[in-house]
């Protein structure tokens, strides 16, 4: 399996700085309880106590949703540059190198082609570990290319967001990726193919105000933070406490902007069902082996090097 080959990732790749001195216990950001790390990992990285969905890396998400965890990564030739020569506490250039080394990714999104429930799909998965899953030129270009490829191949498109928004270090070029990806979604929409947007924790700001909110169907993981402005900004602006559960996936669903809140263990099944429902009537149903493969993969769980 692919994950056995991965070296150098010592933590469970949740994208959060969780200190685990002995590697046995995790502090769950959802309930604050200490949970047995192995138990979390065996549970698709979902807290067994409070059902908090820990962040997954992009490869982990691909492994979770594709049949047999198999997929082909595409658009791997795209790399970020530093068009503004941006420096804060570090040079953007150095920051990029650090995150590339840490995540083994070129930027914050992974484009993959594969099958879900036997149906061919294009998937763009964001990875929060890479600079908070922020969208700069490369993310915008890759998501755009994924839409274009899916349109050309007449197959559905799925995006999985896990992002803090546009990437400041590329300035206005990042903001324009919102226009670019929304335009790609619009053009893809004209091809008559299905676009499913999955929102994982957190899904906010520039990505939310562009392609991630434009799915024909919008699915979210339980308790994921979903919104435009960050809770801290809102609190500072209005100067009062935010209501309980504000901007959670369930809250946003209640207000009419999310179709389905789906637990991680059901995500693959739900995506497969959606693909089947929206498949053109004359198209052949996926063959049985593929469907079997789908149900087997359903039982597979996400794991990491530390599990070996």
């Amino acid at each position: 399996m692919w994950f056995k080959k991965r070296k150098g990732i010592q933590r469970p790749a949740t994208g959060m700085k969780i200190e685990m001195p002995d590697g046995m216990w995790l502090k769950c950001p959802g309930c604050g309880e200490l949970v047995y790390r192995r138990e979390v990992q065996d549970n698709l990285k979902v807290c067994p106590k409070c059902n908090y969905h820990f962040k997954l890396t992009a490869p982990e998400r691909c492994h979770l949703i594709f049949d047999n965890g198999e997929y082909t990564e595409v658009d791997t030739e795209l790399y970020p540059t530093d068009p503004l020569k941006f420096v804060d506490s570090k040079k953007y250039r150095d920051r990029l190198k650090e995150h590339q080394a840490k995540t083994n990714m070129a930027d914050a999104v992974l484009n993959a082609r594969g099958k879900i429930g036997g149906w061919s799909v294009m998937v763009s998965v964001m990875d929060f570990r890479f600079m908070g899953g922020s969208m700069g030129s490369v993310v915008g270009e890759k998501v755009t290319r994924a839409f274009e490829r899916a349109g050309k191949e007449n197959i559905p498109m799925i995006t999985i967001a896990s992002t803090g928004g546009a990437r400041m270090q590329e300035g206005m070029l990042s903001l324009m990726q919102m226009a670019k990806t929304s335009q790609a979604a619009a053009r893809f929409g004209l091809t008559g193919n299905l676009f499913v947007s999955v929102l994982a924790d957190p899904s906010t700001a520039g990505v939310m105000a562009s392609f991630a909110m434009l799915g024909d169907i919008i699915v979210a993981e339980p308790k994921a933070l979903v919104g435009f402005a960050g809770p801290r900004v809102i609190k500072e602006t209005i100067g009062e406490e935010l209501p309980e559960g504000f901007q959670s996936a369930e809250f946003v669903q209640e207000h009419g902007f999310i179709d389905i809140v789906v637990e991680r263990k059901h995500l693959k099944q739900v995506l497969g069902d959606l693909l089947t429902f929206f498949a053109p009537d004359k198209s052949t149903a996926p063959d049985e082996t593929a469907q079997e493969a789908a149900s087997t993969a359903q039982e597979a769980h996400v794991t990491t090097k530390a599990d070996d």
Binding site: R6, S182, A186, M213, A229, I234, T237
Partner: protein, 329 residues
Amino acid sequence: MPREILDFERPIIELEEAIAELKQAGDPQYRDRIQAYHKKLKRLYTETFSNLSAWQRTRLARHKDRPYTLDYISQITSKFVELHGDRYFRDDPAVVAGLAVFRGRKVVIVGQQKGRDVNERIFRNFGMSNPEGYRKALRAMKLAEKFKKPVVCFVDTPAAYPGIGAEERGQAEAIARNLYEMSILKTPILVVVTGEGGSGGALGIGVGDRILMQENAIYSVIPPEGCAAILFRDGKRGPEAAEALKITSVELKRLGIIDEIVKEPVGGAHRDPALAASILADSIQSSLDEICGLGLDELLDRRFKKFRAMGCFVERKHKKKKSSPKTVR
């Protein structure tokens, strides 16, 4: 008399006042002094305004006396009929939309609107729209599409409003929907950034065939103060962030984000609003002449290519990453 005088404007305004006083006195013995002051004034203007920093431009863009959308509308168009409401929830005063005649051409206008005095500022929510503002804008644009009129968008907002109600009513969806629809709207769209281009809040009415930007306007992915608070851990380092983010018209022209810089009167649009409006009107007219002259297919194709090309990245020769997942086909 301006209501707000920025520190770098002060020496100029004081000198101007001194000249006015001397002139009013009408005594011929002051003639030499007036002449000397005029010389000094000219020098001061050049020194101050020929090389403004990004932060100084930010402050001009936010100047309390800067002309706002409705000022431009009243100066450069006639027969303006304002349309209200998004037909879903309510009318958002932070966005104005309406029908107007601009130099003989019927146009649909959409723009963010700030307020002048305290009460109006609150009424306009400081130019920060709620979702219904974006939806009102889209309704007006759809109307323009149906009746084949060009759209002119005036961008001037600090940000989309970050509030509880805004989130509950889908701020993200409202902006995303506008980006989606504007990218394929079947009528010419001209965008003019006149003041603050505040992030997604600005872009929500900022997709178009041609993007104009006034000389001292700014357009940024995040307010400089916000960027400083996050990246420099100090909100007071806004001036540095403003520089780093490349938010001025000159920088954005260079980056290919905007198409044209629209000159302002020396010292900024607020020093001579009438002149600012007439310069802007000329640019709007030539831009509209250009985009309205295109066939629909060409128009949409050009708009597509314009935004498709935005971004800066490298393509490296493909080399198989050691740990990339196994390809199974």
